[in-house]
Symmetry: C2
Subunit: 132 residues, 2 copies
């Protein structure tokens, strides 16, 4: 059943251990669950590149989100180790949000998804590479 | 506000046009919507690497999915141009499922998400790279 030319492409390079289809699907699903919700992506794309933003700046940058929802999303991202909250001890206190190192490392993966999505136009309606 | 050393990392290389945080977040969200649902990932990871599987093989490989749900997920993936259905005109007819070229191209992007997820252990609880 298994042919030797079939590359196991879902083997993450960073781990020695292999993935089964089940563990790979489970791993990707966990990432999806961690990130789902439109505001999280917007927050991420506003912070990628080492940017630091005050709460009021994020509020202005994402006018459609309510204050309550923005607080909730930032807290979840902070709790998950993706966003960090930086408190500058000054008068009045200044609080900024940025990405953690791990959060910043998500950028290439989201890039890869965007590139895949953009590739759609290079294929025909059936998802096949045009032969012409 | 914008500093020149901030790389616009969410600019897909495959497109000349740039992304705003809004278009990037929207693009990633569309990919998430296209793929959400545990069975889709499992189907994908069973088909990556150019594998072809009959319906009955997928049923056996994913015992937890109902026949109705498996049909529905395959139809959605087929309709979205990710999975292709190959009908061999023989007696009795043989039908196999595989990935389209575009579907196969998703593999590196899901790999990148898995790699990012696996990176979590390399950072401390706050998502920062340990300095020790």
């Amino acid at each position: 059943m298994t042919r030797t030319h079939e590359k196991v492409r879902y083997l993450p390079e960073s781990k020695e251990e292999g993935h089964t289809p089940f563990s790979a699907a489970d791993g990707v699903e966990q990432v999806f669950k961690l990130l789902e919700g439109r505001w999280k992506f917007l927050i991420l794309f506003h912070l990628f590149g080492g940017k630091l933003r005050r709460f009021s700046e994020l509020e202005r940058a994402i006018p459609a989100v309510s204050q309550k929802m923005l607080i909730q999303q930032l807290r979840q991202l902070e709790g998950d180790g993706i966003v960090r909250r930086i408190v500058h001890h000054q008068v009045p206190p200044k609080v900024e949000y940025g990405l953690t190192d791990w959060g910043q490392a998500l950028c290439p993966a989201l890039d890869a998804l965007l590139k895949w999505s953009a590739l759609r136009d290079d294929f025909d309606a059936d998802g096949a590479r045009p032969t012409s």
